[in-house]
């Protein structure tokens, strides 16, 4: 037996915003989900690195640890990039188109710098993945971060391009803010990876 539809109690939601940031945005939650997954992968690879260490006597086995210069340089670039990143992230919350455009261009250039230095890092790891499990672990760990760096850079380039077209509206500012948040993930995951690749073999050498 169908109930009468009118009159009926209602909850009117017409006054609610449709451009929301942070925990109020589904995009934010999606990005957090991705971070959880990728963070889990990193954590397990780092755990594998230490597990393999526990199974050998010399570490690194028969090779020098990776050269400190390029890795530390990249770390410095990552840490400094927080400044323009945070600036444009906050301006995105306000819908400041010009600021977001500048910010995205700057971050694109920062990404290029990171990638160039990363290339130099790869040439100075002092180990070969085909020779030892240690080498395999080091290359796998840094390789995962390379993948993140490249995909985030491509993401940033696409968003930068979009922000110079007339197709911009509120939701795209949420995307820009999330892009900045994801950059934080790239930077924050780099810290433990940097410590493991560059410093662990120096600290663990015994």
């Amino acid at each position: 037996m169908a109930e009468d539809i009118k009159p009926r109690a209602v909850l009117d939601v017409s006054a609610l915003p449709n451009v929301t940031f942070g925990t109020s945005s589904v995009t934010w939650w999606g990005i957090i989900g991705m971070m959880a997954i990728e963070g889990g992968v990193f954590a397990l690879v780092i755990a594998s690195y230490f597990y393999l260490h526990s199974r050998t006597n010399t570490w690194p086995p028969g090779v020098l640890p990776p050269d400190l210069l390029w890795g530390s340089l990249n770390t410095a670039i990552f840490l400094l990039s927080v400044i323009p990143n945070e600036w444009y992230r906050r301006r995105a919350h306000k819908g400041d188109l010009r600021a977001v455009q500048i910010g995205l261009v700057v971050m694109t250039l920062v990404g290029v710098a990171n990638l160039v230095v990363r290339y130099m890092e790869l040439r100075h790891l002092n180990c070969d993945w085909t020779q030892t499990a240690y080498g395999s672990a080091v290359w796998f760990l840094i390789g995962l971060h390379v993948v993140h760096l490249i995909t985030d850079w491509v993401d940033t380039v696409v968003l930068t391009t979009l922000f110079f077209t007339p197709r911009i509206e509120g939701k795209r500012f949420v995307d820009a803010a999330e892009n900045a948040a994801y950059w934080y993930f790239v930077v924050i995951t780099w810290i433990p990876i940097y410590l493991v690749i560059y410093w662990a073999p120096r600290w663990l050498r015994s």
Binding site: M1, A2, E3, I5, R8, A9, V10, L11, D12, V13, S14, A15, L16, P17, N18, V19, T20, F21, T23, S24, S25, V26, W29, G30, G33, M34, A36, I37, G40, V41, A43, L44, V45, S48, Y51, L52, R55, P61, H93, K94, G95, W129, T130, Q131, T132, A133, Y134, G135, S136, A137, W139, F140, L162, P166, R167, I168, E169, G170, K171, R172
Partner: protein, 644 residues
């Protein structure tokens, strides 16, 4: 609390609101239109049908195994084919049936309905995840039919699956199957978490979330934290095999147990990922068919969450025979026994609900009773294998094969058939035949026990697992023959189920919106639901939305209905917070899945396929995301910014 079931609000014929919603939300038609679909019920049905087909295929493979094992030293097939068949049986059941059905299919179809939303979060990602899943499955079978099926067991231990002892491409195919199915499952997991956190109907506070939804969100979290284990294990395996990394080569610092740790970090939660949805199906059916609110809702929610956590602390119990330190043995035995406590809690709450309710003995309820009968035996044998000394006798024998079939079939397949009988009317708009359903049930219950109970004895009598044959003097012949006969009953049962489905679809009795008098929101709309799910978005007043509804329960108004608008609410109390738009149907998720498939399969043969293959994927993803002019213009005009 109300003592009646509130009727759903269904549109009259020609209702203008219904027509407008239908026009906006309708799935694209035609051949190309099939590939553009983004509605969760469409994708959910595809998941169900595809997963069931894989179930049937893996079941046939099991039949071939039972045929070979029916006679000692039989020559029906040689060891090479048998090894492919048992590996395929396990891999297809675990990766292509169990998780895709229990988690993906059921949550994609039912979670948005049960929380009162019009679609699942990230609908295009949902479509992509389905295409990737089905393409991965097709890939696997194509390789199997060309004698390149994986043959190292569903967990593919190294070094047997590694470059030295696993020649050809078989283990690479296995590793890539993992990649397909795990990306798919992870995508759905994120969608489920976001849907349950942010898209719930106003009034559906945390303590009013249906148990089915609780279970699926806990499962989603488990998927997110467990799957990285198998991602890393299978990637390391693939790298060892294709690019000469040395992760598992003891000669240069690698370790074979590293693989096992990484795999079982995933592997143990995996079985709870399969089982927890089973338990919440049971909760749902028991509630409806005992005609009372479930007893111990809070205890059950806490048990499900506890199970999800503890499941991550058990993995080493799969490695008791590898020579782990005694301290580890003790810890993991204790943890493995401890997980019986939350499961036991759920069982006692269910029994309490049933014995204090008014029990409607229809087929869904019979499958639930079968679940108790079968699963609890499996849970009990779990205690045997949790105890290290006993495990060291029965590990890798048919005893443990019996154990996991009792818990997996008892804990997932029985609830699943119950779920089919329960929700088939909702999904298809037709009722199934009770009579055929009961025949299927009894044949399955009896056939299952005849097939699997003797395996406990066979294991204790010395029969290891994964053996393509056994000697005539071992005392195993009669047991194996009984088991093989039991298979025939299982086969007939499933066949009868298929007949039931087919006849019902052709001219079964039309199903009303709420044939079982259920209380959750999927019953608040027609059978099957329209493309927009609910004529009016509901609000909720209690745990069983329809049973606890206020006499004039409010509905949501004020959303733009000329676009695919949805409402977001706050996590804890589900107060309305904002609105947003779902994206429109599009072909790009399908094309992105094709590009991804090409890259995944290419990388089996040439590692460089990863870099080259990434380019088409990037292109399809950019096209997927790129906004259209009309969309941007419409939204710009309506933008209402959050006050910061």
């Amino acid at each position: 609390m109300s003592t009646s079931t509130v009727s759903p609000i269904l549109p009259e014929a020609g209702d203008p609101k219904a027509q407008q919603l239908e026009a906006i939300w309708r799935e694209p038609s035609g051949f190309i239109g099939w590939f553009k679909a983004v509605h969760h019920t469409t994708i959910g049905k595809r998941y169900m049908v595809t997963a069931f087909i894989f179930f049937l295929a893996a079941g046939i493979l099991a039949g071939l195994m039972r045929l070979q094992l029916a006679f000692p030293e039989a020559h029906i097939m040689g060891p090479d084919l048998y090894n492919q068949i048992f590996t395929m049986h396990g891999s297809v059941m675990m990766f292509l049936f169990a998780v895709p059905m229990m988690f993906e299919a059921l949550s994609v179809y039912f979670v948005p309905l049960m929380v009162g939303a019009r679609n699942i979060a990230f609908p295009r990602l949902n479509a992509y995840s389905y295409y990737l899943y089905v393409m991965g499955g097709i890939m696997l079978f194509c390789f199997f039919f060309t004698n390149t099926g994986p043959d190292r067991g569903w967990f593919a231990y190294v070094p047997l699956s590694g470059p030295d002892y696993g020649p050809g491409k078989r283990a690479d195919v296995w590793a890539q199957l993992i990649t397909f199915t795990e990306v798919s499952a992870l995508a759905v997991a994120v969608e489920v978490v976001v849907t349950v956190f942010k898209l719930r109907a106003p009034g559906m506070s945390l303590n009013r979330i249906p148990l089915f939804v609780w279970g699926q969100v806990v499962t989603a979290f488990m998927v997110i934290f467990a799957m990285p284990g198998v991602v890393v294990a299978s990637t390391m395996l693939l790298l060892d095999r294709t690019t000469s990394t040395q992760f598992f080569n003891p000669a240069v610092g690698g370790d074979v147990l590293l693989y096992q740790h990484l795999f079982w970090w995933f592997g143990h939660p995996e079985v709870y990922i399969i089982f927890i949805p089973g338990t919440v199906i049971v909760s749902s059916i028991i509630t409806t068919f005992s005609r009372r609110h479930i007893f111990g809702y809070l205890a059950i929610v806490l048990s499900v969450i506890a199970t999800g956590f503890i499941a991550f602390g058990l993995w080493v119990h799969h490695m008791f025979a590898t020579g782990i330190p005694q301290m580890s043995e003790s810890f993991f035995t204790a943890a493995s026994m401890m997980i019986a406590i939350p499961t036991g809690t759920q069982i006692f709450c269910w029994v309490a609900t049933i014995v204090t309710g008014k029990v409607v003995l229809k087929t869904p309820m019979w499958w639930v009773l079968g679940f108790f009968f079968v699963f609890i035996i499996g849970g009990m044998t779990g205690i045997f294998v949790a105890a290290v000394p006993v495990d060291l006798q029965v590990h890798d024998t048919y005893f443990v094969v019996a154990h996991f079939h009792y818990v997996l079939i008892g804990g997932a397949v029985f609830p699943l058939f119950g779920a089919f009988m329960y929700w088939f009317p909702k999904i298809t708009g037709r009722m199934l035949s009770e009579k055929l359903g009961m025949w299927s049930f009894w044949l399955f219950l009896i056939g299952f026990n005849i097939t699997f109970f003797p395996m406990h004895i066979a294991g204790l009598r010395g029969m290891p697992r994964r053996v393509y044959t056994y000697g005539p003097g071992m005392g195993l012949t009669l047991l194996n023959q009984i088991e093989s006969c039991g298979y025939i009953l299982l086969f007939i049962s499933v066949f009868m189920f298929l007949i039931n489905v087919w006849m019902s679809l052709r001219n079964g009795e039309r199903a009303p919106a709420n044939p079982w008098g259920g209380g959750t929101l999927e019953w608040a709309t027609s059978s099957p639901p329209p493309s927009y799910n609910f004529l009016y978005l509901p609000t909720v007043n209690g745990r069983e939305a329809l049973w606890d509804a206020a006499p004039n329960q409010p509905v949501v108004v004020g959303l733009h209905e000329d676009a695919r608008t949805f409402l977001t609410t706050r996590i804890i109390d589900a107060e309305p917070e904002g609105t947003d738009e779902f994206p429109a149907p599009t072909i790009w998720p399908f094309l992105a899945a094709v590009a991804t498939t090409v890259m995944f399969i290419g990388s089996i043969f040439r590692p460089v396929a990863v870099s080259i293959g990434a380019i088409p994927i990037a292109i399809t993803l950019i096209a997927w995301f790129w906004p259209t002019r009309q969309e941007a213009a419409r939204r710009r005009e309506r933008d209402k910014w959050q006050k910061t």
